[in-house]
């Protein structure tokens, strides 16, 4: 029954889990207003943070304290930002679960989906999945921990631009107003605008689904098809995102917002992103295994396409861009041919969801 009794400590520590490029950028932004403690798994990274004030080479605000002890960060901070990759998300959440209590607020910034399958089941073995077998990151937190006041951070936030202090905005989504207000007051600055949204599932899905379209955008660029085609893709991609998001429990509005269309445009134009690169190299004739072999981290879009493909098997829904990308990625379908099919696909109506 370790409860927090009137911890009227004047200093409000904010926790950040994960020191990837986005985590570091957010930690630095938070450190402008509050003391920040960051968690890294490796001891030498923590050493580096506390002595050199850098995290894997990226500069950190000298006020930021590093720790590799989950308990310490949970006891010090009521509010925690989880900024870890989607592949490690479930694992990290489980590590922290024993130290998290119902008074904690968690805001995550991870774009990805997890699977909720039975023991011994994998995506290969089940082939078809239903909505209940897919977890967004906030659902992972709700499932694994006692924390209920959960929020997510999504939007066009390229770390390298945030580091330079270029203007940007983000969306904090949560069912709880207090989480949104808290996030806004912690992050908002002259150069960083923070919007609120109560449809957390819709915002999370927007951030996830746009990665699929980003791969397609890379492919268009690789085929050198020009800007008209990109405009076409972004618009059709958005429609597909709307339908998928709806089927998975998000609202149309969130896809049209900053975390949806806003992030989509940014991602489809950012040539350095992993998803874009996958599409680009596919178009140049490389095969998926070759591309994966020299990428440090798997592009999130690939994982998303597999999950959504399996979901489409049970849902009464067509998502042509995702389906053809799946065939190109996993069934050796020729990308130019896929493009031909998509151009012929009967999209007669421009917008059919408002």
């Amino acid at each position: 029954m370790a409860s927090k009794n009137s911890s009227n400590t004047k200093v409000k520590w904010i926790g950040v889990i994960g020191v990837g490029s986005f985590g570091t950028a957010i930690a630095n932004m938070l450190a402008e207003k509050n003391p920040v403690m960051v968690y890294a798994r490796k001891e030498e990274v923590v050493q580096e943070i506390n002595t050199k004030h850098t995290a894997q080479g990226k500069p950190l605000n000298p006020g930021i304290k590093g720790t590799f002890d989950p308990q310490e960060i949970c006891e010090t901070c009521d509010i925690i930002f989880m900024m870890v990759s989607s592949s490690g998300f479930q694992e990290v959440t489980k590590t922290f679960a024993p130290f998290l209590l119902p008074y904690h607020l968690i805001i995550h910034g991870t774009k990805g989906l997890c699977l909720n399958l039975g023991m011994g089941e994998t995506l290969e073995s089940v082939q078809k999945i239903q909505r209940s077998q897919i977890l967004t990151m906030s659902e992972v937190i709700l499932q694994e921990t006692v924390v209920v006041r959960v929020g997510c951070l999504a939007g066009p936030n390229l770390s390298k631009e945030l580091v330079k202090g270029q203007p940007a905005a983000t969306v904090i989504a949560s069912k709880y107003n207090e989480v949104i207000l808290e996030g806004q007051s912690l992050l908002r600055s002259e150069k960083f605008q923070v919007y609120g949204n109560s449809d957390i599932i819709g915002v999370e899905l927007s951030g996830v689904l746009k990665n699929i379209i980003a791969i397609a955008a890379g492919a268009l660029a690789g085929l050198e098809l020009g800007e008209n085609a990109k405009g076409l893709l972004i618009s059709r991609g958005m429609v597909e995102m709307v339908h998928l998001s709806n089927a998975l429990g998000g609202s149309v509005k969130s896809v049209i917002g900053l975390a949806g269309i806003g992030d989509l445009v940014t991602t489809c134009n950012s040539v350095d992103s992993r998803n874009f690169t996958v599409g680009f190299r596919l178009a140049k004739g490389e095969k998926l295994p070759e591309i994966m072999a020299d990428m440090e981290e798997v592009a999130e879009g690939i994982n998303t396409i597999r999950i959504i493909k399996a979901f489409l098997e049970t849902a009464d829904l067509r998502a042509p861009i995702t389906e053809y990308l799946y065939r190109v990625l996993f069934e050796d379908f020729d990308i130019k041919e896929a493009l031909q099919f998509l151009m012929k696909y009967p999209f007669n109506v421009d917008i059919d969801f408002v």
Binding site: M1, S3, D78, L101, V148, R149, Y176
Partner: protein
Amino acid sequence: MEEKYLKHKYEPIIPSKNEWPVVKLARERKEFVKKVSDLAEERILNLAEKNPDILKEELETTLYREKLRIKQNPWVVDPDDESSFWREVKASLLQINSATGLSKIEKIQEYKSILNRITSRYAEEIASNFKHTHYKFTRSVVTFGFSRLLNAARVKGFRSIFSKQYSLQDKIQITGETDQLRDLATKGTIVMVPTHFSNLDSILIGWIISVLGLPPFIYGAGLNLFNISIFAYFMNSLGAYKVDRRKKNLLYLETLKTYSKEAIQFGCHSLFFPGGTRSRSGMIESRLKLGLLSTAIEAQRANFQNGLNDISGKVFVVPVTINYHFVLEAPSLIRDHLSITGQERYYKENDEFSNSYKISKFLLKFFTKGSDISVSIGKAMDVLGNYVDEDGNSLDKKGRSINTRDYFLSEGVVTVDQQREEEYTNMLGRRIVEEFHKINRVFSSHLVAFTAFEMIQSTNRKLDLFDLIRLPEEEIVLSYDEFKVNCQRVMNRVYELKSKGLINVAPHLQQEMDEIIKHGLDNVGMYHAKRPLIRNEQGDIVTEDMSLLYFYHNRLTGYGLEKLF
């Protein structure tokens, strides 16, 4: 085959009636009503942001709706002075509106006095009239009367009237976490949330509470029930407060919520039917009315605010399911459901519970012919839906002890956040539905009705529900062998679910399949004029009433069993 049911009578957990919270509340009734009406007034003022224009708007809306209700939907129980009361309200409102030169503060004062008159009236109307002598009398009538009837029916011979061979507990089986419930009731405050299929539920639950040795619970009963004299007497004596579903205005709803919240804080164990009303479709409630449920959360938070951090200030939510082979009101409930969902045009109000004669007739049938009822008491939870241990500590999914107070903290202090509590109420509602499904017990009658309906549906895939129900009954014939095979398939799946703790079964389901089917056919909707399911002379399975079959079938929806067909 016989499972060990709770048969002995529990000792009362609080022997002295003067210690019963509900008796204490009755003693302080006047002060309590005053407190409720004042607090309700304050809540409404806050909702109106102390703005005279908004307040005026609310008062006028209330006045308008009340006048409309008096004109269009009068009931026997309505007090005689209603019209005159609202006329006075109208006059006072007009006076304020026409008065010139009132400052904002003066205006607010004037509106406040009208507001207070209305909330006082509502609070007085809602408040229960618990009388201990009535309670004792009712309890003994129920127990004595019922067990006399029962013995007369089951034991042959003249002297059987005085036989003690069968007691009410042979008919009504209580299973589940009874000890935990008794234990926690001495330590904290219980909010019991049962499923609701029949008007009989209120009396049944009242009786169960007394068998378990618990002091009476207070509960919100529909004011319409007070129209019927038998019920009115029972309800009053069981500690019921009145909920008038016709009144949907803000002032009334806020007063009602305040009443419920304050009673829980007072330490009164409460009972809500979270479905709000009887399940029309026969399905387990999947969408709960969250209004009163939210008061459990509010009361819990208020206790924490007042520093009641130990178990004495803790609110425990206990889900309960009641299973019947037979629901007297089924024909009208399902007709109601079908007409609400759309297609059946005709609908004639014909509530089988509409008068005392019909009820007595039903009770007589029920006790003389026998149709078992089982009541399953679920595990106690805190107001966030976490299970609790024997000391009332909340446990997370991994069994770690957590503090419910933490859910209401921000920066280390308990805070009031209405939006947060709304979300918590939704969460609690979902948890209760989940628990309902887990503790629900499958009866043979549910099994046969479910299987038969699904078989009929699968052979008529092109028809929608409404066409299916309009199928001529004489055209529907299911061969017994096929029926048996399908029953077995459903049953296997039910046991699979049971092994995962997702459903429960009645002990009579452990027999041979032929026996189970016979038991089911004998019992499913046994007293209806048209039986939902019978075996004809050729030995095939036929139905006499498709909508009733649909009603009893619905009890097993929500488990994914449909996928078997």
